[in-house]
Structures are given as C-alpha cells and as structure tokens.
Symmetry: C2
Subunit: 462 residues, 2 copies
C-alpha cells in the first residue's frame, strides 16, 4: 500500500471538478417530505448511481415503499477490512424561501469578508456535501492507487429528513450483502473550525405523551373551583416531582441505572477544549446550566441523561381570560438516555411515577413515542484510535471524541440489523444553518474533509 | 297597607297574560355580543320602556357607548323605603342552533312527562323570565292596591352577557337619581325546586396570566436538554408550589387573611339541606372534593377561597412529537376570594411567589385580569330576615341563605357606585341550561317567583 501522499495530492488536484460534481447534486431539489419532489429524490438516487458506477462500484437502486436507496459496493485488497458508509441524499424543505440570499437549489461559492469560502445551498452540509467528501476521497484513492485500501459499501438513503421507516427493514432484509467490519457515517460536526472530532456518545430517547382526565366535561371555575379536581394542577404536580429542585437530578426510580460516569481523562479534555457554559448557553440568551449540579453544560448535554417537557396544554390558552376548569390536561415529555439506560424500563418507571400521583377520581392516558438506547463507541476501540490519529494528522490539531445530545437513529439501526459499531466522523460546523435558510458548508470542510477520509481509509486498512 | 292576598290573587289571575307579555319579550333576539343584533337590543329596551311606562313608571332609555340602559322609577308611599331592582334584557348567543328542540326565539310552553311545565327559549331564565317576575309583581301590586308598597327604581341593562364596561360609569354618573335603600337582583337560583334561597355569599376574583421566558429562541431538546432552563418545568414548579398537597391549602403568604369561618349555624343548615359531595361532584363524573381538607364540596365552592389553573400552554401541543425545548411557557391562574380578602394584596403575594421561583436567567411577565372583592350580605341584616320570611311563606319550605362560587360583578358595582347592599333573590334551577341550547324557566319559577316578589316587596315596606 503506497503512502497517502499521492491520493492527497489527487484530492487537491480534483477540488474544482469535485465542487462541480457536488453542485450538480445540490441542484436536484430532493426534498423527501414533499410528494411533489418524489421524482427529484429519484433523480438524486440516479445521479449517485451513475457517479458511483463510473468509479467502478457495483451499484444498485433498491426500491422501497418510499424513496429509493442507493447501494454501491467495491471490494478492497484481499484480506483488507470492509467498511459500510451511510449517508442520505434527501434534504429538508426550504421555507421560508424569502430568507435565502440565493436560490436554495442554485449552489453558490461565496467568499466571506475574512477570505474563507463557503458553499451555500440546501443540503450543502446536510448531507450532500458530507456524503461527497467520502465519494471524492474514494475517487482520489482509486485514481492515484488503482484501488481502495479497504472494501467499501456505500448506502445512501432518501428518507432521513422525513422520519422514513424504510431503512431498518431494508438493512435487515439485506444483512448478508451489507456485511462489513465497521460502519462510517458522515453527518456530524467538528468541535470547532480547527478541531476535528469523532462523536462517540449519542443519547437515546424515550418520549411519552400523558393526559390527565378529571371531570367528564369542562367546568366553570367559579362554580366548581376548589372542589373539583383540576387536571392542570395534577399534571404540574407530576412534572414538578420529576426533578429534584436542589440537585437537578431526575427522581424516577432506577433512572440512573446504567448511567456511566465520564472517564476523568475525557472530562479533562472536554474542560480544556470544549465551549464553556458561557459560550454554549450565552449563545441562546442563558447563563447557568439548569440540570444536574456538578456537571458543565457540555457534560449535561453530551453524557448525562435528561428529562424535558416538550409541550404542555390545557384549558383556555387564547388571548384574554376564561374561568374554565378544564376536563383534561396534556404534556409531552421526553427523556434523553446515555450509557446502558433501558428506554422501556424508564418508560415503565415514568408511568409508575405518574400513576402514583393521579388522584383516584382522575384517569390517565399514555401515548408512547420513540424508544432508543444511547450509542456509545467504546473508548478503547482500536479503529477509533486509528481514525483519531488520521484526523489529527490532517488538521494539525489533536482530534477529540465528543458527545452529541441528540439522537441519530441510524446508528442504532445499523447495530440492530447488521451488528456494526459506527464511527461518526463529520466536518460540519455549528453555524452551518442546517434545516434553516442559507445552509452552508465551508469549503475547508469539503476539501479537508475529503483529505481526512483518504487518511482514515488508509489508516483503517492497517 | 292591605294584606297581600289581593295582590297574590291578582298574580294568579294575570298568569296567562303575564306569560304572553314574557313571550313577546323572549321573541326579541337581543344577543348583545353580536353587532348584527344591536337593533334587537334596542327593541328589547323599547319594549321594556313601553311596558313599564304603562305601569306608571317614569321611564327613560339612557344611551351608552354600547347598548342602551332602561331606567324606570315609581315612588312608593311617603316614608316607605326605596329599592333598586337590577336585571338585564340581553341574552347569550344561541349556537349551536341545531341542538335546540325549537327556535330559540319562538318561546314554547312545554309540558314535561311529570306534568310540570316549562318555558323554553333563549333568555327564558337568564334573565328575561326572572326580570318579568319582578315586573309582573309590580303590576299585581299596582292593580290590586293602586300603588307599590315601596318606592321602586328598575335598571335593566343590555350588556351583562358581553362583559359590558358601561354599567359602572352609568351608575356613577347617575348616583343621585338612583339613590335607594337596598338593591334587589333576580339573576340567581333556588337551592332546589322546592327550597327558595337568597344568595348572600358571592366570591370575588383576581386573575393573572404569567409567562416564563428562558432562552431567546426555541431550542432542540437533544442539543440543549438538561443544560438550558426549561420554562415549562419552571412554570410547573411554580404552580405545584401554590397548593399544599397534604392539606389542600393555598400557600401564598397572607392568602387566608380576612377569610371568615362559616358560622356553625349556617354550616349545619347547609349540611342538612345542601347537596352532598356525591351529589355535586357525581354530576360531573367526580367523587371526592379536591380542595381544603375538612370542608365539603359545597363549603369549598360557596365560602372558601380557591386557586385554579384556567389554562396552560407551552412548546409543541399538536399531534405527534417534536423535541423542542421551548423559549416560553404561559399559564392563566385565578383566585376566588371570600370575606375580606384583598384582591390586590393577593395579586402581589402571587407575584412574589412567582418571582421567588424564577431562576435568575429567566424572566417573567404578568398580565393582570380582573380583581373584585367577595360580596357578603351580613347574616344579621334586617331586610334579609324579612325577605327570608316572605319566601318561606310563599313556598311552604324554610328559605335558606346560600353561597355562590362565581362572581356577579354588578353586586360590587352597585356597592361601589351607590353604596347599596344587594339581596340576590332568584328562582332559577340548576337544570335551566342557561347559556346552552334549550334554555328553560320552570312555569312554577315564573308564577311563584312573581308571587314571591309581591311578598318580599310587602315585607320590605314594614
């Protein structure tokens, strides 16, 4: 296996042509939630099929009940590991269009006042630009070395932005042909513009909608106030009791079972490099972390479980006043999970917490929503170390492992269907405005992202 | 002054003609909230003016910025007291019309399976039927005796159902010509179909809309959950702390200042005659009083102060789930007041309670709503005893004093503008469906109600 220098040079040489290819993909308005764009989703799949076929991948378009899935496979040298790369070609809607500085599907290379350049288009960062860093890396490796250092299967779906239910059944149905040693996903971000990162902790989630029902009709609060049970009061009591006000800890029985403490080494690294509480909360008008005492805002969102009230509703909510004593009140509550927390155990514990607080002449209804475990890459995983080294070499700054407060369901689905661990390596930045007007992807993310994948794939071959 | 027998006989003789007169008034669709019915409101005022003029009242229609107010005055014998009667000619809207068994403005005299009769029409009970009991009583007294036993001023307004702001300024501007010794209102109910009642306790009210604001935008609960303050959680903590879960008492500082204990005699009477907890709560699908321990549901609504959450709103409330961590959450909260509780002191205490619980990087906004003291007729008031005796004689069942959980603002306005105490004497029943389709007024309420006023006016002359 030759040194990567040839392939890295090839990336640099190909940059302009690579941008042209990315722009062609960005021009396809593949908005998956809007049925009027179904043909555009198919066009994006066809474009990727042609592109990957031209690089010598055996490429198929798989039909699903929704948008098609592109699968492309190219073998590596005998005995080399095989990796499964996942990405998505669909994009978010573009409303409100009036806030865009240019047509969201007419990609622009914009030069900022500080001289940096960025690609502006819907999907530039999420996820077409990130997908193409991997494809362009494969091109550079193939063009410079004649082959890939590892076997590569690329799966690119079209329903990531529309909560598509079709990926997991597809993975399960094709688990034999999708066999690999490791999964790679390029749909996350760097710590900051200089510091590459691998996301090793993703929180799981379990959601519940809970409705408290008291009287069999709305009542007049003058006629019944005091004597008739108020379901909003009951709901507020239940919610208030979920969190210990003094410590910020969630009070559900067994809630912290399976929650690991952050290794000191990682905690110290985060405190050194990560944003301070002032940085992360100050950006949204807040100052002090609200959750568990003794943890920074970063730690609270990256590696601690949480409980959030996502919505609440009851009685009269419009302008003015109505002295109604409502018959029901509803809340949507979600828990973000870490480590080995069991979503169904937590759902059961939550329901027990509620039932213990529902007065005997009220009833309660639950509607479950979601239920996924946290994903954690073991910090001693060999490929993690290799990939971190490769990233550090490319960026000249020590690569770091980070957490992500959100959930990326595909990580769990890949694990469930294929038994694979995933390395989440991405080059997005916090200000990429994904899902918002004027989405962008930094030219540096695209260029050095492509170079990073060359190095990572070479490193994984070792 | 002759015995009332002549006048009572006259009421009986006039019943059919009186019904005809009431039906004429009920045919006028004087819905005050709908501007398209403004001319009908004026027609109702004109009808009353003609009716009262024909009875020898000096009658005027006073213009207001809204619907007109009818004022009619007829002097009593020299040295007799003068009473001010208040009623309203406007009615509630009739939607949904499809649920009415007959046209709401085509009054019907309906015979029930048990042989009792009722008047079905919008306004039959609230308040045209009740108003006409008083007018017909005046007619019978005048026709039989040639004069009224007391001086009478009748004020009938047209904005009671539309929260009209014009009555209080009118009362203040005309306080000289409206001078009287006592106010009478016929807009309340009996204890039950057999037991006449005078409502001597009306709760006051103070309302607050409170909004908690945390971050300067809605956040993703995955990215910020735990670290960023959740305003719904803050609001639930505040609401939950308003009531002591063990005792059911409101925790605001000074909340019970000025709250009188119910005299044992009244409590015993209520326990004997009043509906049980099963009766009052069972009718709406509940069983146990939710408020202060040691008080029956009746006592809790008639003579104890309360705190109700009338509405709450925040985050995502529609179908499905959205993992939003909202920027703000809002609740509408009202307190019903009794005795000498001071609405502004309670508002201040509530705001202090909230401010003490708002974390330092959240802000709070308050919107005041209403603020009226409770109205209480002293139980040793001479005219109260006379009126109770008169009612007892008419109905053959001991008349009782009752409370009312709601608020009737005109009682406070009459006290404020004219310095008058009010006797609330009405003949409505719990099943009159006021504000609802198929509103009715029992023929017995109309007939014996008219006879009751004859007796009460004679008694007040003593």
């Amino acid at each position: 296996m030759p040194a990567p220098m040839d392939a890295l040079q090839k990336v640099d040489d190909n940059l302009e042509a690579g941008l042209t290819r990315l722009f062609a993909l960005l021009r396809i308005p593949s908005i998956s939630t809007q049925t009027s764009h179904a043909k555009d989703c198919r066009a994006a799949a066809e474009w990727l099929k042609a592109e990957l076929s031209s690089l010598g991948f055996a490429t198929t378009i798989h039909e699903t009940p929704g948008h098609p899935i592109v699968v492309a496979r190219r073998e590596g040298p005998a005995g080399a590991p095989h990796v499964l790369f996942y990405g998505h070609y669909d994009v978010q809607p573009v409303d409100p269009v009036s806030l865009w500085k240019s047509d969201p599907f007419d990609p622009q290379l914009v030069t900022n006042p500080d001289g940096t350049k960025e690609i502006r288009a819907r999907g530039a960062a999420d996820d077409k630009g990130q997908v193409m860093t991997f494809v362009e890396a494969c091109r550079a490796l193939i063009e410079s070395n004649g082959e890939l250092p590892v076997g590569v299967t690329i799966v690119i779906e079209g329903e990531e932005e529309s909560g598509g239910e079709n990926l997991l059944p597809f993975l399960k149905a094709h688990s034999e042909e999708l066999k690999a040693d490791l999964a790679l996903i390029c749909d996350t971000g760097m710590l900051d513009a200089k510091t590459p990162a691998i996301t090793t902790m993703l929180r799981g989630m379990v959601g519940e909608e809970v409705t408290i029902i008291a009287a069999d009709r709305d009542l007049h609060s003058g006629m019944f106030g005091n004597a008739a049970r108020n379901p909003i009061q009951v709901l507020c009591d239940i919610i208030s009791a979920l969190r210990d006000g003094a410590t910020g800890r969630i009070t559900l029985n067994g809630f912290y079972d399976g929650v690991p403490e952050l290794p000191d080494s990682v905690r110290e690294q985060w405190r050194e490099i990560g944003p301070t509480d002032e940085d992360s909360l100050g950006a949204v008008g807040l100052r002090w972390p609200a959750g568990e005492q003794g943890y920074s805002a970063l730690e609270q969102t990256w590696c601690r479980p949480s409980c959030e009230i996502n919505g609440i509703s009851g009685g009269y909510e419009e302008d003015g006043f109505k002295t109604v004593l409502p018959a029901r009140a509803m809340a949507k509550i979600s828990f973000r999970l870490v480590g080995e927390q069991d979503p169904e155990a937590i759902r059961a514990s939550f329901r027990a917490h509620v039932r213990a607080r529902v007065p005997s002449d009220c009833t309660v209804e639950f509607k479950p929503h979601g239920g996924s475990r946290a994903s954690v890459v073991p910090s001693d995983m060999l490929q993690l170390a290799s990939a971190l080294t490769a990233l550090t070499e490319e960026w000249g700054t020590q690569a770091t492992v980070i957490g992500c407060g959100g959930s990326i369901p595909v990580v769990g689905e890949v694990k469930e269907a294929l038994g694979l661990d995933t390395l989440l390596i991405g080059f997005g930045l916090d200000d990429d405005r994904i899902h918002s007007p004027n989405e962008k992807y930094s030219l540096t993310s695209f260029h050095k992202g492509t170079r990073s994948w060359v190095r990572v794939l070479m490193a994984l071959a070792q």
